[in-house]
């Protein structure tokens, strides 16, 4: 199953978890795939 990632989102920027998110390089993504027919 091929997996495709969409554009990165700065999910935690400006939120309380921003510091921890930066520590681990944490970002949000849309992700899609298709089950084989």
């Amino acid at each position: 199953m091929d997996v495709e990632y969409g554009p990165v989102v700065d999910t935690f920027g400006g939120a309380g978890g921003e510091e921890k998110a930066r520590q681990f390089g944490t970002w949000g993504y849309p992700i899609r795939a298709r089950k084989p027919a």
């Binding site: 989102v9 921890k20 992700i31 089950k35 084989p36």
Partner: protein
């Protein structure tokens, strides 16, 4: 269950407690954004949110946009894994239309209650919310055209188990469109057992 390093029961309790707080006090400060701020940050279209119950929007805690590649098609069957207060499920239900159907699954009773009330308030009849876990989806095999999820699978200890369930629920040729957080750095072994890091 596949090998996990954290106390699963305690983790689920902590997650439920956290999201109970999101339902009861959506304007409180969390480690993540909520409500309109979270939706805007994720790239949601304004018209997706129009007409949704205020409390469903206020308790929204998505991390990115599972509809980046498009909303469900008319007539499609959709499963929303970790449906929370129901915003994504309701958006999907409106897109799928009267011949489509959405099943939202969540493990937190307060979120299910909020989602059911919200769907009733909005007059959205082609959505239902079922109690359940991502690792044991209460959905028939090959039922779904599309599985969505938003900011949920990162909190599931048995991720492989959850993906196996998603695979099972999808019909052949079905799609998964999720939004979640990913890390650039490897997570140290000790951190994997730290529930505080899982939940914020």
């Amino acid at each position: 269950m596949n090998d996990v390093t954290v106390d699963v029961g305690k983790l689920r309790e902590e997650i439920q407690s956290k999201y109970r707080e999101v339902v009861d006090h959506p304007d409180a400060t969390f480690h993540f954004h909520t409500g309109l701020r979270a939706a805007a940050n994720a790239g949601y279209e304004d018209d997706w949110l129009e007409g949704l119950p205020k409390q469903a929007i206020a308790s929204f805690a998505g991390v990115a946009n599972p509809f980046h590649w498009g909303l469900p098609n008319a007539g499609e069957r959709v499963v929303d894994v970790g449906s929370g207060a129901g915003a994504d499920s309701m958006i999907a239900a409106r897109a799928a239309g009267p011949t489509g159907r959405v099943v939202g699954v969540d493990m937190t009773p307060e979120m299910l209650q909020r989602a059911r009330a919200g769907a009733t308030e909005a007059g959205i009849e082609n959505v239902e919310f079922r109690a359940g876990l991502a690792e044991r989806l209460p959905v028939d095999a090959a039922w779904a055209d599309l599985v969505i999820s938003n900011g949920v699978l990162n909190l599931v200890p048995d991720k492989l188990g959850a993906y196996k369930q998603i695979f099972r629920a999808l019909r052949p040729g079905g799609r998964i469109q999720i939004a979640d957080i990913c890390v650039d750095q490897p997570i140290p072994e000790g951190a994997l057992r730290d529930i505080d890091l899982w939940t914020g």
